[in-house]
């Protein structure tokens, strides 16, 4: 349903032109979790921003369904790595309600509120609905951002290393939470990460990116049954395969 065709992107800095993405083509199926795995500097965040319509590619095309992506849309919500993506002047609940209100979704204010509470419960933040973002921990903020995104019922979630700055335990619990929600909501997820383990736990397919310029090195199928316990031998094999691809 999402299709990228020969996408190229470079940035100009002073006199130099830095090629960030070269000839990127792939498709994303509806309802799948696709991980884009790469080291820093592989252009994976840039790729995600292009898919979200935040930037334009130099050549090539990106389309969702049959329509070209030209600007950001409430139908594909980007979740950032930065914890500060909640609006600090709104409470957690207001942060979740606000995008629905802007898009005039779900009729009345009361319905939006009920819906927001439902999603806050889903991410286990119902008790903090009245808190302001600065009163929350990093993990809680990311959970609230996920609730805010899901409450809009987008068909696509673009996630830019959303758990990258969290401690290992919190990260693991959020990965589990994301999988639960994904099963329930049936949303398509494109998840950028540099963490091989995270990619193995989450993805149906893993796009491995090459460095400077960012190119697709390989697309790896990951069809282990969920929930995945990554201590088994088969997982280790996949881990080493991905690891050797990244480190060359």
């Amino acid at each position: 349903m999402i299709e990228l065709k020969e996408v190229n992107k470079s940035f100009k800095r002073d006199q130099d032109t830095l090629k960030v993405l070269e000839n990127i083509s792939f498709t994303v199926e509806k309802g799948e979790i696709l991980c884009i795995l790469g080291a820093s500097g592989s252009g994976k965040s840039t790729l995600l921003r292009l898919m979200g319509g935040f930037d334009f590619c130099d050549s090539g095309s990106i389309s969702i369904g049959s329509e070209a992506v030209v600007s950001p849309s409430p139908d594909s919500i980007l979740i950032f790595q930065d914890f500060n993506q909640l609006l600090p002047w709104k409470t957690v609940l207001q942060n979740v309600i606000y995008p629905m209100k802007v898009n005039k979704k779900y009729g009345s204010e009361q319905q939006r509120r009920d819906r927001a509470m439902e999603y806050l419960e889903m991410v286990q933040l119902a008790d903090f609905y009245n808190a302001y973002p600065h009163q929350l921990s990093g993990g809680m903020k990311q959970r609230a951002a996920i609730a805010r995104a899901l409450a809009l019922e987008p068909s696509i979630l673009l996630m830019d290393e959303p758990f990258g700055s969290l401690d290992a335990l919190t990260r693991q619990s959020l990965q589990e939470l994301l999988l639960q929600i994904w099963k329930r909501a049936g949303v398509t997820i494109i998840f950028v990460t540099h963490d091989i383990q995270e990619a193995i736990i989450l993805a149906d397919r893993i796009i491995v990116m090459d460095n400077k310029p960012g190119r697709i090195k390989d697309i790896v199928q990951n069809s282990f049954d969920r929930p995945r316990d990554i201590s088994g031998g088969d997982y280790l094999e996949l881990y080493h395969r991905l690891y050797s691809m990244l480190s060359v």
Binding site: L78, D82, N84, L87, P99, Y132
Partner: protein
């Protein structure tokens, strides 16, 4: 902190009183606290000091309102593109360093010595610092917020109003603090120079007039009133607004 301030104020008042009662200064030029308080109470009771104060405050509010509207319009205009941005930037560079009081002779020439002349000076002293702060606030708005805003479907004026404005509130508030202080100063000096405007003269004129009558205690009474109003606005009004907004949101002191 608050209590410490109070102790210092009391100490300074005691020092004042000690000097006044030492017999080394003339009560004509250095009145005691009792005389100042008496002058304050009697001129308030007589109604003149209060009505002059109200007159001054109304002019300030008028100037602040016009200055704020102009600053907002210019700030929005400066965001519409590089050409307009450099235009507004040039205006600020030219006008900001100019003290309002330096404009007085020209303004008298153009507008006379009426009320509108004082309002003009206040608008001038409010507009530029406010505009500078608003623009700084817009520039300091994290790209993250505008990305989030665009993502959920905000565009144009709605993006401006819902994202940029609240995000620059810390800058707006400190802009208003500067604007308030400057307008207050501009007003007092303008009133002193202009003399009685429209039958009244405002606080500045009141102080000036008391000197003519050699009413030193009355002059200090008016100064005390100016200080009290300043403290009231600074510590009570702005403090309350900050507490309910940026401090509550964790956006203060960035």
């Amino acid at each position: 902190m608050k209590n410490k301030k109070l102790i210092w104020i009391l100490l300074l008042l005691a020092l004042w009183q000690a000097v006044a009662l030492s017999g080394r200064v003339s009560p004509l030029t250095f009145p005691s606290l009792g005389m100042i308080l008496k002058a304050l109470v009697s001129s308030i009771m007589a109604g003149e000091l209060l009505s002059q104060t109200v007159f001054s405050l109304v002019i300030i509010l008028e100037g602040l309102l016009i200055g704020t509207l102009l600053a907002l319009v210019l700030a929005i205009v400066s965001r519409t593109g590089d050409t307009m941005n450099s235009f507004v930037d040039t205006l600020i560079t030219l006008a900001h360093p100019l003290p309002g009081i330096a404009l007085l002779p020209i303004i008298i020439l153009w507008l006379g010595t009426g009320r509108s002349a004082i309002v003009f000076i206040i608008v001038h002293s409010v507009l530029w610092p406010l505009l500078l702060n608003i623009i700084a606030g817009f520039k300091a708005t994290p790209k993250l917020y505008s990305d989030v805003g665009r993502n959920i479907g905000l565009r144009g004026i709605k993006l401006f109003y819902d994202i940029y404005m609240p995000s620059s509130l810390p800058y707006l508030i400190s802009g208003f603090k500067i604007a308030w202080a400057r307008s207050w100063r501009a007003l007092i000096s303008a009133e002193m120079v202009f003399g009685a405007v429209g039958g009244k003269g405002g606080l500045g004129w009141y102080i000036f007039k008391q000197r003519v009558f050699m009413d030193t205690a009355g002059m200090f009474a008016a100064l005390l009133l100016i200080m009290l109003i300043g403290i009231l606005i600074e510590e009570v009004f702005f403090n309350k607004i900050e507490k309910q907004t940026i401090r509550r949101w964790g956006m203060a002191e960035k």
